[in-house]
């Protein structure tokens, strides 16, 4: 495998070059310079072009300099843990309205403590339930922030 294919700089540079090209292509549909002065496309055109140039420089650096960006090769075990946490966070958001804040947040807390950190289920449940109750009391009741109640709607509205 080519050495640069393992570098984060190479892939992130390519992605950003593509993104910059998208910005420029989109900005071309808007007015660049009108009678009153610069239009909606003026600013995005310039920073989009700068993005393309800079990201290509990054790609070139990753390809031409053998040592550059070696430290940025991604450790997959760390990545897997971080992404698992992120997926749990997204699931919590997806269930936010259906389950209500307390249940969704308690589930996320339990998942992080019991599954990701391997702590006992008892400890995880204790922190999850305690944390959700404290959040509901502090934000829902003291600060009067409207959080989705889910199945507890009737209970919390009393």
């Amino acid at each position: 495998m080519k050495h640069f294919l393992r570098k984060g700089d190479f892939w992130s540079g390519l992605a950003l070059a593509g993104f910059g090209a998208y910005v420029v292509a989109t900005a071309r549909h808007w007015t660049y310079m009108g009678e009153d002065g610069p239009g909606a496309g003026f600013f995005p055109m310039w920073y989009g072009a700068a993005m393309v140039v800079l990201s290509l420089l990054l790609v070139a650096g990753a390809v031409l300099k053998p040592g550059a960006g070696e430290a940025r090769t991604l450790p997959w075990s760390d990545l897997r843990r971080a992404l698992t946490c992120w997926v749990a966070f997204v699931a919590c958001i997806a269930l936010f309205k259906a389950l209500g804040f307390m249940l969704a947040f308690a589930s996320l807390t339990w998942f992080i403590i019991a599954v990701m950190y391997g702590q006992s289920h008892r400890k995880a449940l204790l922190v999850a339930i305690g944390g959700a109750l404290v959040f509901q009391m502090l934000f829902g009741w003291v600060l009067d922030i409207q959080l989705p109640a889910g199945p507890f709607a009737a209970l919390l509205s009393r």
């Binding site: 989109t26 808007w30 960006g69 971080a82 946490c85 804040f101 947040f105 959080l147």
Partner: protein, 502 residues
Amino acid sequence: MDPIAGLMHGFAVALTPANLMMCVAGTFLGTVIGVLPGLGPAATIAMLLPLTMKLDPTGAMIMLAGIYYGAKYGGSTTSILLNVPGESASIVTCLDGYQMARKGRAGAALGMAAIASFIAGTVGVIALMLIAPPLAQLSLAFSAPEYFALMVLGLAMVVLLAGESLTKALLAMLIGLWIATIGTDLFSATSRFTFGQSALLGGIDFVIVAIGVFAVGEVMANMEPTTAPDVLPVPKGLRNLLPTWEDMRRCRFAFVNGSIVGFIIGVLPGAGGTISSFVSYGIEKAVSRHPEKFGTGVIEGVAAPEGANNADTAGALVPLLTLGIPGGSSTAILLAALVLWGFKPGPLFIQESPALFWGLVASMYIGNVVLLLMNIPLVPVFARLLKIPGYAMYPLVLGVSLVGVYSDGNSLFELGLLAGFGLLGYAMRKLGYPAAPLLLGLVLGDAMEKALRQSLMMSQGDVAILYRPIPAALLVVAAVLLAVPLFKKFNDVRVRMIDQEV
């Protein structure tokens, strides 16, 4: 309003029971955040910002500023007891502070850190009070071209000192500019980069990006399992937490050095507390009669950097409040907070919002006293926070992030954006893209585009309007700064400064 009258007015505002409580709450929370490694003041201010929207803006600003400067006090505790900086600006304190603790002088080091922070923090507030009003007066002469050039210079400085790779820092800033462009263009009513989503017509709320990149991204980056830290003991009894008169005498110059260097570097965008503490430590070592002892546990090595990183916070508020230019992530979030509350930080800010400006200045005097009184006797309590495991902290951070964003717009779409920006923040950390330029690009992007377009409208599209003396000078300085990495000698110094920060 002259400074003395202004300050009196400020104390009348800051000493109301509600504002006093906000000041104590902010400084306490700041200290706690400073003590805990991983979670910085920028993430905390971002998370709490939406929750302060229902509060009185002056009280809320006093609290958020308290978190900002309080974190600098708390950071030293972790540096001294754990040899890990609780806050990036306290990294230099590890060098001598931890060595002092190992020799059984943890109490003196912790006490000196609090005293130096108090002295330099207070000197910094005095300088802020004296310098901000005349600077604001001076900048009244600025119009769109000058502002555009000033923002370019601010961004150039932040980019220069943000990351080892200038290219990546610039790219991060450009992503920030792109996010700032999302929504309806106010000049032409054109929808830009909205992907057909009506929820994006008003743009993306700065708070969502800040919380996502800093708080959620930080939690994801800290997901690796860690072992329990080995915390050195805090001596019992208040007397053992106070430095001796001999220690105080030895630190005389360090107090002056930290105050002046910290404030001056704080005023410069991008430099920040870490660099000011390194510079003041370097000066202290250079003028010392025993430079060889630095790093082995000398008390001046604690006093100088701790003083500098606290004077820096007052310095950083000068460009923020008088020009509307933030110098780093925390001040960028404070700027966003002021804008969200309907204030316009800039040359007219002091005239238009005297209660907020002088109330904030007065609260910083009070806050420094509160921090001194709180930090010395409560150090053992704060030290116990270091034993809280990460797995108990991370759900808390994610929960506050969720509530913060949801309370702002009651929108699941915005929570989805939060998750997206969290992923972006994590990817940036892992790939070595600094987050500060993204945030600065985002917070300044809109104003920068507006200033540029207004300038070109004034000149009917002729860029020569930017060749007027002030904008031309500012743009030349920005260009020179961005050219620094091309010169090996200068770039080595730049990279060394950033490496130390990392």
